[in-house]
Symmetry: C2
Subunit: 98 residues, 2 copies
Amino acid sequence: MTIENNIFIGNKPVMNYVLAVVTQINEGETEINIRARGRAISRAVDVAEIVKNRFVPGSEIGEIKTQTEEIRNPDGRTTNVSSIIIPIIKNQTNFKDF
Amino acid sequence: MTIENNIFIGNKPVMNYVLAVVTQINEGETEINIRARGRAISRAVDVAEIVKNRFVPGSEIGEIKTQTEEIRNPDGRTTNVSSIIIPIIKNQTNFKDF
């Protein structure tokens, strides 16, 4: 579970991404990075909040990071776009230990 | 400068908010909270990144927090909306000390 685990947020409905995160946590992942650029950043925050508050009790949002990325357009110009990384952390409880 | 200093991001152009933040820092504020809800969250990240990278050398983004807020519609129903707080921190150097 040491491989960095990213879910990229695009233009699909929020619940699609929530389901993707919850599925990975149920498969045993302990840290998932929700990533987004530009306008999808708002949706990324929605995904993180919904996962934390409604679907995965005991999960937490880790240290959120923002960046500026340079994107080259087809016409050769570059534009800057903001991006965000929101880590969802869930310390798994192994019930077999009880 | 101990009073919490908030700038709320709405639907105006990004540079309006950048100017507001830069003005407050130039007036001696050392910490400014950029706040936004819903779709304005993406714009809040833009504001923070532009201030940090282009206008205020030595400024940093602090611990970003997200929340879910309940909003009551005029028809009585409540909806949930995500919100973000992005602290911009600038340790002021007092050049008179040199």
